[in-house]
């Protein structure tokens, strides 16, 4: 059971929480339904380990509509803001770059033209100086180029830097790179641009990052390069580097603005969603609370209705429904009270004429020897049936007293052995008639409990007389035991026993196992019902077990002190000499035949029934000593809901013996037959 509850923990839902989880079959079905964690145990363990800390969060997520809506709004607005931000930043970036590129291109073009012009001028000057063209010394170039870079770069201090590189890679003509403004030339000019400039005479541009030789931080830049000829006609590469510092600043300004605005928008959306949802969720929560209280029985609860909106309509409809329900339920309660009163009144009213009739019948019975045999026989019959009528009336009164909650417990410490002795002595004549011997075991030590002696005696008498009546002349064993906080008396007979499903029904009013059988003693059909009510009044259990042809056992378990809840019984419900035990020797649960049943713990919310009903002890086939078997204690913490079906079902669970077919006999739901009221009707109808 404990494994059961743990295994179903991850998938446990509110609806399932109270439902019994007993059967292996059901567990499997549940496991499949809940995602089939049937992989390796390691994986399952891991999943559980991962999930455990998240469980409260998940639960909150599942239960809180407001949280769901707010989080969804936040995520969606965040997505929208991000998308918007990307688009805007991209556009701003493109715009800034376009402007910068255009301005830079025109500047660089001018620079290239100036460089070409200077080269031409220098070449012309050298030519005018009369130096032969072929033998012209290359003397000017080193200084000329430095001067060129200086004059080109002095045009735009800070706005751009100028770099020259030898054509054709690093091996170009023994000429070194030149750079203004502390730029590291080879690190700043991308290799691909150098190749491109080398291969064509057109200008080319690229983006790069300017690296400085000084401690200045590198920065992104646009570089425009072109292959130009020096005065000697040798090519070299001239580059203009335009730092994009301003553009970067503008962009980061836009970015910062967007981020701030986006943050505000997201937070604002979240707050708005929270406010709006709160307007809807608060009435819904109120309705849920009111509905819960309604279902808990406080029928006078109503919702507060303000305004005329949809929520108000919901509230009005809800209130109307609650009012109708309250009306119907109170009508039904009135009806039921009236019926009970009617029965009680009828019983009372019948008593007075019955006394008169009784007196008259006694006179007739006394004088029966003077009558003719037929009349004498009638007088005897009259007296017998009057006896029966009287006891029936007494039982009815008793039952109606229970129903009305008027039964009071007068508990005092008593020794159950004395009660048993009295009952056995009282049943002796009947037993002799039936040829039955009544044995009492477990009476070596006192079995003391706080109980109402009259009621316990009534219970036991009922059980013993029943056992003798159905014992078919075989022995009846009365067994006493005390252990833990409980005492128990079990009455065992070896008669016809109980058919499957009957163990649950023996306590129903006016039920009889075989309608054809005659009642030899004055059985009214209410004895076991009264006994059950008596046991319940003590806070005890009265349970039945039986197998067809193997006899039956009824067990009364009482708390040692009144008001103490029961946890188990000293005597196992299924006796050690049952057929199932004898065949299986307790290794496996008995496959069939064992019929154990308890009573529905609590039928109605009567005034005297405030104490919550206890689970009956799950009887275990294991050999049970007279002392309380710890394994026999009800282990599962599932609380009993006052639903008629469940106790009987659960009762079947631990014994694990009853196949559905045996249980069934046309009552798959199993509901109505357990209901005391309808039970009474049904049996009467039978």
């Amino acid at each position: 059971m404990s494994g059961d509850s743990a295994a179903s923990a991850p998938g446990r839902s509110g609806a399932r929480a109270g439902r019994p989880v007993g059967r292996k079959r059901r567990y499997l079905a549940g496991g499949l339904l809940h995602g089939g964690v049937q992989g390796s145990p390691v994986l399952r363990l891991f999943m559980r380990w991962v999930r455990r800390p998240l469980l409260p969060v998940i639960r909150l997520w599942r239960r809180n509509l407001q949280l769901k809506v707010v989080v969804t709004t936040l995520l969606m607005s965040l997505g929208v803001v991000l998308l918007l931000g990307f688009v805007v930043i991209g556009q701003v970036r493109n715009g800034l770059l376009d402007a910068k590129v255009k301005a830079s291109q025109s500047q660089a073009t001018g620079g290239f033209a100036a460089a070409k012009q200077r080269a031409d001028e220098a070449a012309t000057a050298a030519g005018d100086a009369g130096t032969p063209v072929d033998d012209r010394p290359s003397q000017n170039v080193i200084q000329w180029m430095s001067d060129l870079v200086y004059s080109l770069s002095s045009g735009g201090q800070g706005a751009f830097d100028v770099v020259t590189l030898p054509a054709g890679g690093d091996s170009g003509g023994g000429r070194g790179p030149r750079a203004s403004g502390d730029v590291a030339p080879s690190a700043s000019i991308p290799e691909s641009l150098r190749e491109r400039v080398d291969s064509s005479t057109a200008a080319a541009q690229s983006y790069t990052r300017i690296v400085y030789n000084s401690s200045e931080a590198s920065q992104p830049a646009l570089v425009i390069g072109k292959r130009v000829n020096d005065p000697n006609g040798d090519p070299y590469q001239l580059y203009y580097l335009f730092p994009l510092t301003q553009e970067e600043k503008s962009l980061s300004l836009v970015k910062g603005t967007l981020a701030t605005a986006g943050l505000f928008v997201v937070v604002l959306f979240g707050a708005i969603a929270w406010l709006v949802v709160r307007q809807v969720v608060t009435p819904v929560r109120m309705a849920a609370g009111v509905a819960e209280r309604l279902s808990a029985g406080r029928l006078q609860e109503r919702m507060k209705v303000t305004g005329e909106d949809d929520i108000a309509r919901l509230g009005e409809a809800f209130n109307k429904m609650a009012q109708n329900l309250q009306l119907k339920i109170s009508q039904l309660e009135d009806l039921s009270r009236m019926q009970r009163r009617f029965v009680s009144d009828v019983s009372h009213e019948l008593r007075t004429p019955l006394t008169t009739v009784r007196m008259a019948a006694d006179v007739i019975h006394e004088a029966r020897e003077d009558f003719d045999p037929v009349t004498a026989r009638s007088a005897e019959l009259l007296a017998d049936q009057l006896d029966r009528f009287e006891s029936l009336l007494a039982d009815l009164l008793e039952i109606s007293r229970f129903d009305a909650g008027a039964a009071a417990l007068e508990a005092e410490p008593i020794d159950l052995r004395e009660v048993v002795r009295r009952v056995v002595t009282g049943a002796e004549p009947l037993a002799e008639r039936k040829g039955t011997r009544i044995r009492v075991t477990g009476d070596q030590q006192p079995v003391v409990a706080e109980a109402d002696a009259r009621r316990v005696e009534r219970i036991l008498r009922n059980l013993v007389v029943n056992a003798v009546e159905h014992g078919e002349g075989k022995d009846v064993v009365v067994k006493l035991a005390a252990a833990g906080g409980a005492v128990a008396v079990a009455v065992r007979d070896y008669g016809v026993g109980l058919k499957p499903g009957e163990a649950a029904r023996v306590f129903s009013r006016f039920w009889r196992a075989d309608p054809a059988r005659a009642r030899t003693t004055g059985g009214t059909g209410l004895g076991l019902s009264i006994a059950l009510e008596d046991a319940r009044l003590h806070g005890g259990w009265l349970q039945a077990w039986g197998e067809p042809g193997g006899g039956s056992q009824f067990r009364l378990t009482l708390p040692r002190t009144a008001d103490e809840p029961l946890r188990g019984s000293p005597i196992p419900l299924e006796p050690a000499d049952s057929r199932g035990r004898r065949t299986a020797e307790g290794t496996a649960p008995p496959s069939g035949g064992a019929r154990a049943a308890t009573v529905p713990a609590q039928q109605s919310a009567g005034p005297g029934q405030a104490r919550p009903a206890r689970d009956p002890i799950p009887p275990r086939p294991a050999a049970a000593p007279p002392a309380a078997d710890p394994t026999a204690l009800p282990g599962n913490g599932a609380r009993v809901v006052p639903r008629p079906v469940s106790p009987a079902r659960r009762q079947d669970g631990p014994s694990a013996a009853e196949p559905p077919a045996a249980h069934g006999d046309g009552h798959p739901a199993g509901g109505p037959e357990e209901d005391p009221n309808s039970q009474g009707e049904a049996c009467r109808g039978r």
């Binding site: 010394p137 200084q143 430095s146 000429r175």
Partner: protein
């Protein structure tokens, strides 16, 4: 009830509108550019100079010989600290023998290559060519600049390395060769300071007994830790030109401590200089002088040094701040003349406050200001106590104190030159109070010195001087002298020399001017000149085939600062002060004009022969 609600409904929109208007006004304030607001100072960011750097490249694989030479020359113009890249172009042997620090040859247009005409051009493993160019100047191993002229030819020989098959230079001229603009880009002029030798402590004939600092300009590489270079150069002693006339306070053999890294001032503008053990035992006075030398030198390089801290090993020798340095040693550029003197229309000496913008001149007190003697030119001693004037005919020289009521004495000197232009020149006072003057008498051309402006004139010897001295100006430090000399062909050039005095007890001092060297090789006719700083003169002259112009020259002949004063025509005399903050004053066609910094020439008044004290 209903009425209340009605009223409430009417009030709500009004209030909402009011709130909305307030919000809109506030937002509108934020959403427009401010047109008023708080007042703040603007921090100026110094405009960084556009520096062009040449990056030396190692020789490429299988480069032809011409490219190797080209790459080598290019590497010489880079700011490689020890020319490591340039050395890669040399063979192992040449690498060991090549010493770039020996000299720097500056060519007008950079070195050109003249293909070798020797027969071994056909040799597959050898290649010769000649570096050619027109020399402008040379910088020697002492980093001293000297103007030069003539053609530059240096043979370069390349061989092919047998193993690697690469061309390398195996014969190369010592030193570094580069073009003029490369030189100006890579080098900068630094004044290192020494003390005038005749001003040894205890001599006591100076103005206040302070040693006089003499500037000695050298060239250091601008981007190769110039601070450390300047300090090393200072420690290594004065350049040859100045050598005998100055002394240094550093004990012989003083150098930077071994392993000392490059010198950089800390964040409090203090520079810590670690010297080797030779300097460990200097006294506090000497140490202060050493520190003053350092501080003066470094201040010309960067204004970011306010204090010098001298150390030797673990001991802290002394520390000198800039304020205290002025008390340790005197410097010409640190003296501030009070007045500008000139001769007005009545041929008397008048003066104007030096710095101001006043145009009304007052006659000087004393005889020269009274018009007692008609004067042509005047010179005022540096302490402004005495003045010397040359008479209108140029034949006589008068000296009179600038004190009210002082009488004009006898003339102290007379010239017998045949014409006015061939008699006495404008006299010049040095820092010791001696008066220098030139007698241009063709028969007896003399450079004369009058001790303390009186007594018998001493004829100054000028060995090695060709041509006749026309004009003289002694620098404030008393060591350098500038002479305008007319050669036989009529060319007037400016020569700078040093004054050497040999004071023998009891005898008249022998004064010699040595080391004369032209400072203006480009100028054909120097009209006027005046000292304008510790190592700088302002010169009015004419280039060959050019017009008259005004320019600055360094005493070593270089012109590091390209900016010249605004042009002025018809300049006959010019006066400048060592204190560069004082305006330049000239006698031109418009009379006395002056040039306050940052403006154009302004007319002051009529007059001739403007001079600052000196």
């Amino acid at each position: 009830m209903a009425a209340d609600r009605e009223g409430g409904r009417r009030r709500v929109p009004v209030r909402a509108v009011a709130y909305a208007v307030c919000g809109a006004v506030l937002l509108a304030g934020c959403a427009s550019m401010p047109d008023s607001g708080d007042l703040r100072g603007v921090e100026s960011t110094p405009r960084q100079d556009t520096q062009v750097r040449v990056f030396a490249m190692p020789p490429a694989e299988n480069a032809p010989p011409a490219e190797i030479v080209q790459g080598f020359l290019e590497a010489l113009t880079s700011d490689d600290p020890h020319f490591e890249t340039a050395r890669e172009y040399l063979t192992d042997k040449a690498r060991r023998s090549w010493r770039p620090e020996l000299s720097t040859t500056v060519l007008a247009d950079g070195p050109g290559t003249d293909p070798g005409r020797v027969g071994d051009r056909e040799d597959a493993d050898a290649y010769s060519l000649t570096l050619t160019g027109t020399k402008v100047a040379t910088v020697d191993a002492q980093q001293s600049y000297a103007p030069a002229e003539g053609e530059y030819r240096a043979p370069v020989h390349l061989t092919r390395d047998g193993k690697t098959g690469q061309w390398r230079i195996d014969t190369v001229p010592q030193g570094v060769v580069m073009g003029k603009s490369d030189f100006q880009r890579n080098y900068m002029s630094v004044n290192k300071y020494y003390f005038a030798a005749h001003h040894a402590p205890g001599a006591g004939d100076g103005a206040s007994g302070q040693p006089m600092a003499v500037a000695d300009p050298v060239y250091v590489r601008k981007r190769v830790d110039p601070l450390t270079q300047a300090v090393r150069s200072l420690l290594s002693g004065p350049t040859r030109l100045l050598g005998p006339a100055v002394r240094t306070s550093f004990p012989p053999g003083t150098a930077l401590a071994k392993g000392a890294s490059s010198l950089t001032p800390d964040d409090r503008n203090r520079l810590t200089v670690e010297l080797n053990g030779r300097a460990a035992r200097t006294g506090p006075d000497t140490c202060d002088e050493m520190a003053a030398q350092l501080l003066f030198t470094l201040r010309t390089l960067t204004p970011a040094v306010d204090e010098v801290d001298l150390r030797s090993g673990e001991t802290r020798l002394c520390s000198l701040t800039e304020d205290r340095a002025a008390a340790v040693a005197a410097r010409g550029s640190a003296q501030h003349p009070d007045y500008l003197y000139f001769v007005d229309g009545e041929e008397r000496v008048v003066r104007l406050p030096a710095g101001g913008s006043a145009t009304r001149a007052d006659p000087v007190p004393g005889a020269l200001g009274s018009g007692e003697a008609k004067l042509r030119s005047v010179a005022v001693s540096r302490d402004e106590h005495d003045a010397a004037g040359v008479g209108l005919d140029g034949a006589s020289l008068y000296v009179a104190p600038l004190v009210s009521g002082a009488a004009l004495g006898e003339r102290v000197l007379a010239s017998r030159g045949p014409t006015e232009a061939e008699r006495l020149s404008t006299p010049s006072w040095d820092a010791q109070g001696d008066l220098w003057v030139v007698d241009r008498d063709p028969a007896h051309p003399r450079l004369l010195m009058l001790e303390d402006g009186a007594g018998r004139p001493v004829t100054v010897r000028t060995p090695g001087l060709e041509g006749r001295v026309q004009d003289v100006r002694v620098a404030a430090d008393g060591v350098r002298i500038a002479l305008v000399v007319r050669a036989e062909d009529g060319q007037r050039s400016l020569l700078i020399g040093r004054i050497e005095r040999e004071a023998k007890s009891g005898e008249r001092p022998a004064v010699t001017v040595r080391g004369l060297r032209s400072a203006t090789p480009g100028l054909e006719e120097v009209t006027a000149m005046s000292w304008s700083g510790d190592s700088r003169l302002v010169v009015v002259g004419r280039e060959r085939g050019g017009v008259q112009q005004i320019g600055y020259v360094q005493v070593d002949g270089s012109t590091p600062e390209p900016q010249a004063p605004a042009a002025l025509t018809g300049v006959q005399e010019i006066a400048a002060s060592e204190d560069e903050r004082l305006p330049l004053v000239a006698h031109s066609e418009d009379g006395i004009v002056r040039l306050p910094s940052g403006t154009q020439w302004q007319k002051v008044t009529d007059g001739t022969a403007p001079v600052y004290p000196g």
